[in-house]
Symmetry: C2
Subunit: 449 residues, 2 copies
């Protein structure tokens, strides 16, 4: 009999863990338990289906349970709730009373949207954006709606706001922080994104938490500050929290950021002691920052996949570790792309760093080559070490590669002087300026040191 590996959760982390375990262990018995009906899709795609950029929800599903059975010999139990985990006996119980023994367990239960405890939050017409069922419900609600309030101006909130605006709705975004994309973007870069959204006709109410939702049997208006915002439905994009139901059931230690504390091998702790044969991955865990010593959350699809691989290798009997993260991200908000990596100024100062900012604006192509889009790059440098610690980029195209470029630069602890002297950029008039805006931003920072 092969090693019995059980995965709880069928998101990017869970399904990657299962597939990776198979790659590393041909004989293992691998099974996945999930409450969801659809598996193996990217929730990041939901706003783009609603915007009409992607045809339908079916097309974002990469693989079916049948595919996993046939191609990878992985059994997926959909619509199945795990009700108990006995770590001593190594047995998992499901809601139908069945028991499943395991040699290794991977917990990838993901996250849930943080819902502020305000009046009316359970009224029909209040939606989150986590899974395909949510997406389909919003699609239905859009049909007869004229106006919507989006609570939360993070990247998911903004992607949803653009999708709903482009679908013809009147859209108001309400955010408790004084800027869009709070925490991970600085105010000046956030303003570029907000300006673009306002040009698209989206209204913003910043610095104002949601006070409540009112309506007679269904959503009719949102209360924020001293005003009421009439709307047909509400999108709660108020941040993701680790889904701790199963970790709590298992008695795992929870870290200061409200997620499961894990070792670099992604094993949990129980009363401070490392738990054997259990691994976690995805939105449910707290990880280490790659820039400063300290915990962070990295609730991104790309991080879930990387963590899933580590958990899968280790559960299969191999050895892998998960290093510190920068949480490199990219968001497409209408025709604008906004991405970042490493620390924002606010986060860096929270960690006690003395930050120097470099900034440059240019184009994505040579000035005279038609079609070039505006590009603004900000680079943050630690004044003590001169190392680049973060970057934020906003522009019309080709932002992703630049974010990855700077992620590599930060991971390797590069000083801004070294970047200016030794880091080339490829040049061709149709694809870049002769000195890329990234290089110009670094030069600007270097001059201020």
């Amino acid at each position: 009999m092969g090693r019995r590996i059980i995965v709880i959760g069928s998101g990017a982390a869970g399904m990657t863990a299962a597939s990776t375990a198979r790659e590393h262990n041909k004989d293992a018995e691998i099974s996945v338990f999930t409450e969801d009906e659809y598996i193996a899709y990217s929730p990041c795609a939901i706003p783009f289906v609603l915007e009409g950029k992607i045809k339908d929800f079916e097309s974002i599903v990469m693989h079916t349970p049948e595919f996993y059975k046939k191609e990878r010999n992985i059994i997926v139990h959909t619509k199945t709730k795990v009700t108990g985990v006995n770590l001593e006996k190594k047995v998992l119980t499901t809601s139908d009373g069945k028991e499943y023994a395991f040699d290794a367990l991977i917990v990838a239960t993901g996250g849930t949207v943080f819902i502020p405890p305000v009046e009316g939050i359970n009224l029909p017409g209040v939606f989150t954006v986590r899974n395909i069922a949510d997406g389909k419900a919003i699609q239905k609600a859009m049909k007869n709606a004229k106006s919507v309030v989006v609570a939360g101006a993070g990247v998911i909130g903004l992607e949803m706001a653009i999708a709903l605006k482009h679908a013809g709705l009147d859209v108001t975004v309400i955010e408790m922080f004084p800027q869009v994309i709070p925490r991970i973007f600085d105010a000046d870069m956030a303003k570029l994104v907000q300006d673009y959204c306002e040009q698209q006709g989206i209204k913003f109410v910043l610095n104002t938490p949601i006070g409540g939702i009112k309506g007679n049997g269904k959503v009719e208006k949102v209360v924020a500050g001293d005003k009421e915002y009439p709307c047909d439905f509400v999108i709660m994009a108020t941040g993701v929290r680790a889904n701790l139901e199963i970790p709590n059931m298992m008695g795992l230690d929870i870290g200061p950021l409200g997620a499961v504390r894990v070792s670099p091998t992604l094993q949990p702790y129980k009363k401070g002691r490392l738990v054997k044969d259990v691994y976690l991955a995805g939105d449910v865990i707290m990880v280490e920052s790659a820039v400063v010593p300290g915990p962070t959350m990295s609730q991104l699809g790309s991080s879930a996949v990387r963590q899933g691989r580590v958990a899968g290798i280790n559960a299969a009997g191999g050895y892998a570790f998960y290093p510190g993260v920068l949480s490199a991200f990219i968001s497409k908000i209408g025709d604008l792309e906004a991405g970042g990596t490493g620390l924002s100024k606010g986060l860096a100062e929270y960690y006690g760093l003395n930050v120097v900012e470099g900034k440059a604006t240019g184009l994505t192509r040579a000035r005279y080559y038609p079609g070039g889009k505006k590009l603004t790059v900000k680079i943050l440098v630690d004044r003590d070490t001169h190392k680049i610690i973060g970057s934020q980029i906003v522009g019309g195209e080709e932002i992703t590669g630049r974010v990855n470029w700077l992620t590599a630069v930060i991971v390797k602890g590069t000083t801004v002087e070294e970047f200016v002297a030794a880091f080339e950029n490829a040049y061709c008039p149709p694809t870049s300026m002769v000195m890329d805006v990234v290089n110009l931003a670094a030069e600007d920072a270097a001059k201020k040191l």
Copy 2:
């Protein structure tokens, strides 16, 4: 009186050197001598003007001599040939017999196209692609022409071939090496580019040097191997050699690659001794590779700008050094982008390295997101050190950022295992796959070690 700085050459290296010297020295007397009429433009743009992507040659000129005079207090002597340089007296002589004294001299005389010494090479209708005068002459020749031979299948040859094909000409590319983009691209990646060009209707004759050009008073056909190729004109894209007229006049030491040998401060040598107060930049110099100990040529606009900055700072009395290069490049060939950085397999093996290749093909967006373009990434790893030493990328969009990303990875001496474990990619369905093709290529290489 301020420091007298003279620059010979008005290309990217020369004009950057002059402008950088001004930034670092407000009082200097700075002048530029050039045989050209137009200054401050990118020769890389010429194929795109001929293709009709850029409106006209005037629009690629970034600045006029008047701009430099007014905005930067730099005097540019156009259409002026330098006939003598006296290094002892620090005096430069021009063809009109005038003398100009200098405290620091920057030589940025660029390169010229290598013209094979074959019959008929001086016939009317044989063009090179180095400056705007060349471009205008080709534009004129295209008007009544039906067919053209492009000699040389490097990136300039291919960009020209596409431009001429898209203008309606019958195009044959003749290349002495058995592949397109020889030396800097491996055969498998070169094949992708050749296939695309052939789909566009371009014909290739590989592994065949040009034997001669025939015609009665003008080009009528090109001889290559045992065949003749009738054509109305010929583009010689047969590689760039350092323009050594002035360095030779100055008695500077020439390196083994046929270009001026320079120190990291970009100073030349004379009989093995460093020359004071003279700096060189651009296509005229030989530089050091950043990957292996050894000399290389980096005749790129982006390298010229970086070298120009170093020369300008040093000539102005500052201190800067030019580090080793990877020669990161990007070329847009019709709708295809082809870029690379570091060593090709052939070059790596020439340097005695044992190379492991990783390769992956995917898309520039999530599989289900409309408009994603095919993307092929190759990553080369040194089997002894496991360090990434080179990469080649071909695809329909967003190649430049990926080339810069891998350039950073190589500059910092990253092992492929470290890249796989710790280098994140930003993910969003409209701009990338959840694991970028770059990451997948690195994984493929890591598996083979």
